[in-house]
Symmetry: D2
């Protein structure tokens, strides 16, 4: 079982693209929100013909922890927005009723969500032995083009490893964790992340986004607006729009459930800016949470800058998830190419910082 | 592993209570909707002190099949309504987006939903080997008062057994299937079912309901309106309202997704008539489907009689789920008494048919 | 133009019916919530044949003010729940987005809502001359059985009068304000109100409800559970369920928008207990607001008692709206009889307090 | 009272911009959907200092008729999607419950919606004298920057004129009807329209969009992806994002209410592509209807191309609403400049067709 190699491919800003007006956080990732931790387990093994249950395996699991404590005991305010619900996300009904998340959030492949949710309950149940009700949050995209999805290869131990290895400095992107087998805009895609910092008076707040990209038709791709998909598409790829995307938003701003709902809806704007159209078969879910557990509140008249922050960070996360993803060969010779960075630079007439 | 004994306790009508105006179907159950099948697997074993993972076990799984064919290939129109979402039901987001159900519906206990969903995917995947995306529908209530819920004792084989044993004549109620460990209004409760027949012009349509009752405070209970809970409550039971209830509605009337949404919302009226108040901790979910796959449609101006049918059948299903449930002793001597039928007859001044 | 005579008919408790467990507020009305004011303008004139635009007039307008100050400047937290949306209520989209009410709430007849909303904007605009956006909240039921509804007889001056005459001690019910021409369960109905007091620790909170009843089939009526509609129906009345009902909930408990949404949903349970079924043509809307503008918050685990309070107060408000309403003759000899109080007492075997 | 001069400014395609992949309808407007009619009444009078109630007047009303018959008798299937609900749109609750539109759709300014709705009821009531319930659909944006909005200058006669003058060939855009006083991205904006043709098998369907644009920050504007707002902004305009937008979608494809909901959600993607961020104060509403009243239905697997059509037509409608709008001076010397077409052509390096 091979683990991911840290991608040396560049992020959006490293080739000179600056999306939006607002400043980024230190890492330009969801982990810039204080306390948020990310962990990935990447499963890559086998090659050749698909043998359901055997492989080849190109999948994984990604964990996002709102904070490092016992989340069930110390719940965080949350909301969700569903752009297109051809998807199997778990836990959203209770999340919307009670306005909180009480477990880490896990991302994986479509047919693994129930096993992963069950393992997540094992994990939080061990921390909270007297509790008889948990609401695990698990999202997914479909990696069957590269991965033996019917094999449901993400198991209990992988879930535990993703949770336990999660760190506040994990900025891995591309072919990692749940992103291992995903595609976007005809290219290899996967995990991407970005952040923005918003200043309200003297206080700085961070909005961080992490996406699991598995959506988009090649010819539709726009990078920072530029319709690059009209000039650059992978050879031999159907131009049918793929589905889906999971978008996780974290912030330390003291938003209520209702306000997080408003914030979450703006993720669709960031997605749309990349040229995605949320096709019929897409499961496009947004989950937003605030780590702020004080009694503070913000003047809602000033919420628009947070909308902008989400839109910018979502757009940049998606582009990161493409740029950082290297070529992967899956079952039956199915291949998704990493975007050719040189061509992107050339077409966009970029001057990457040295 | 002991299976359920067919309950000899009476149903609502058998003690002379007639809820509502409309006629019932032949069996007065959800199976009156042509093609609908129901199966239960009841798990009862062990006694004494709770040993998580070991028992005692008082739980089960219930399967409702919209028809006997391949449901994934031959989907049925569906909708859902959430009364209170402190619950873990699986599959509702996609159900609401696409307006269909593509798997059987399973009911079980709270912490078993993910295992059961995973097993359900095994089942439908075996029927549809070339498909890489399924949306299993699973609902739950919390049976931890009697059952070793942390043990998650409902396994893959029980799911398969419930699905494979499902029949068009299964009218079991009370302490059976997912209802094995459930309580309601301070009494033992579980599965209940009822149906109504609606005549539109020359055509007869059936509305069938099946409930998994685990809700209600003892003193709130109303039977056919009569506030019996003011006169009859179980000894030594806290009067705290319990949660939750799952309400499944089937019909052969040609309703659209939008119309089924309207129909599903009326289940809350049937629930309310029993005195339930949908407490904070309740997971009260309604799922409605139509087996009618013709192009027919009904004049919406005439939909009110179907609302009435749902309300009546839901109310009667809940009362059935109480009357039919015998006393069960769970872990640590926890006991839920079956309602004392004689006292019910006495207080309601009933003249049961001989 | 004749004003309403204060009804001498009894309220629910005055004939010995005690709905639910919780204590009432001082007036047992929505005005028990400190600061809440209610005003009615009742329009009754003409008789005989319907001449659209001329009369006879049996209609009015009811104002509910969350507090006596400038509501636009000092907004109150709010939410809404729609039971059945065959209705023309105004202002709910913005209310749900921002979670506040910024004007008084007005109730009137179906075809008058737009004129009334426009007049309400005149009213709040005069108080706030520099503001160019207002979100008036107006609800309605259809009084066309008795009233010349096409005449849209509620005009600007009536709206102003209702707002300006609103008081913290107005406990009028029955044939008054927006209730003037309404019917329920085959009988004359109209305005009803009730309240409950909830004690959390040492603090008392009030939940007040005001309903505009125009719903229900005669044979479905249940009073405190008892299915009186099976024994007592008005002569010569179709048993078709009527629509609609407006339910306004006020509280001084410090609920958030999300929590008020949960609270509002329980009004449907109070409605259902009366035997109503929310027919196709019903516009059944619930609006809930909290006058508490402090930073306080309540432990959500204790919210269930507020659900109970809403259910009880809604049920009692509806019964009040029936009992208090005297017989009214409308156009073309159309008549709605006030419920015969003596018969109600007799059938329910009540012992009214002397 | 001065009427609009037909704008000689170019549409998007007339300067060489081709948004998206799909072909347009004949007029490239909502009127390409057979039967759909559009009418505008433009109110422009006075200048100088704002005298509330007197002027200056820069406003109007726009009517969209799903067909030329009696819409109440011959309702059309419809749905809506709310992007951000800081707005006063009327009629959406019932539209979502019943899934139909039963009146023409009117657009006007924020404070005129209730008067306009009342007038619309006059109009449909005259056509249907025996009906006592109508659900008028009216949307709005806020034109107070240029217009005396408190004056509510759109009156009954203007509504009737817009309805009666509506035609199947009206392709007016920019400073016309409800768009008279609106702004977008710092520029003068207003009405825009576009259409796309989708071929399913041998059948062609049309998707038409009409927008009332009053949204967007100058520096955010993207035209066909290109971030032109970074290079071209109006002098002396605050870069605060404005609100709002109304987006009306018509089609002759046989979509159900649920499917139209999905279609309507994609309008947000078209909006996002222009750089809009749906600010706090935006009232961004989408209304979609199908004129197809046959029993036909489409394979939902093929719905994605309609999503694309909506996105493209929305994006193009918004750009049209900017390009076509000439400079307007409102009250107190407030001015919104029409986009300088020459500069747009220059910056985008366009080669307009001669």
């Amino acid at each position: 079982m091979q683990t991911s190699v840290k991608s040396k491919r560049p992020r959006t800003r490293e080739i000179g693209i600056q999306i939006g007006h607002l400043p980024t956080g230190e890492y330009n990732g969801i982990i810039d929100v204080p306390g948020v931790k990310v962990g990935h387990v990447t499963l890559v093994s086998g090659e050749g013909k698909l043998k359901p249950g055997k492989g080849p395996i190109r999948t994984g699991v990604t964990a996002i922890l709102p904070h490092g404590g016992n989340i069930f005991r110390d719940k965080v305010t949350a909301s969700a927005h569903i752009i297109n619900a051809f998807g199997k996300s778990i836990g959203l009904s209770q999340l919307m009723e009670l306005g909180v998340i009480e477990t880490p959030i896990l991302l994986t492949n479509t047919l693994n969500v129930w096993t992963v949710a069950d393992a997540l309950v094992d994990y939080v149940s061990a921390q909270n032995p007297d509790v008889y009700s948990f609401n695990p949050i698990v999202g997914e995209c479909n990696d069957s083009f590269l991965n033996d999805i019917l094999g449901r290869h993400v198991q209990r131990e992988h879930v535990f490893e993703a949770l336990e290895s999660a760190s506040e400095t994990n900025i891995e992107e591309g072919v990692v964790g749940a992103g291992t087998g995903m595609s976007g805009f005809g290219w290899k895609a996967g995990i991407g992340t970005a952040s923005r910092v918003v200043k309200i008076g003297e206080t700085e707040y961070t909005i961080g986004v992490l996406v699991l990209t598995n959506t988009g038709a090649a010819s539709d791709l726009r990078i920072d607006g530029f319709p690059i998909g009209r000039k650059l598409t992978p050879a031999e790829v159907s131009d049918k729009p793929l589905g889906s995307i999971m978008i996780i938003i974290a912030t330390d701003a003291p938003f209520s459930h209702r306000q997080l709902t408003r914030v979450a809806k703006r993720a669709a704007f960031g997605l749309a800016r990349t040229g995605a159209i949320a096709s019929h078969g897409s499961g496009d879910f947004v989950i937003a949470f605030s780590t702020n557990r004080s009694d503070a509140s913000l003047d809602e008249g000033g919420i628009t800058v947070f909308f902008r922050a989400v839109i910018e960070a979502t757009e940049e996360s998606i582009i990161n998830s493409l740029l950082k993803a290297h070529t992967v060969v899956g079952h039956d010779g199915n291949v998704r190419h990493g975007m050719p960075i040189g061509r992107v630079i050339e077409i966009l007439e970029l001057n990457p910082p040295v």
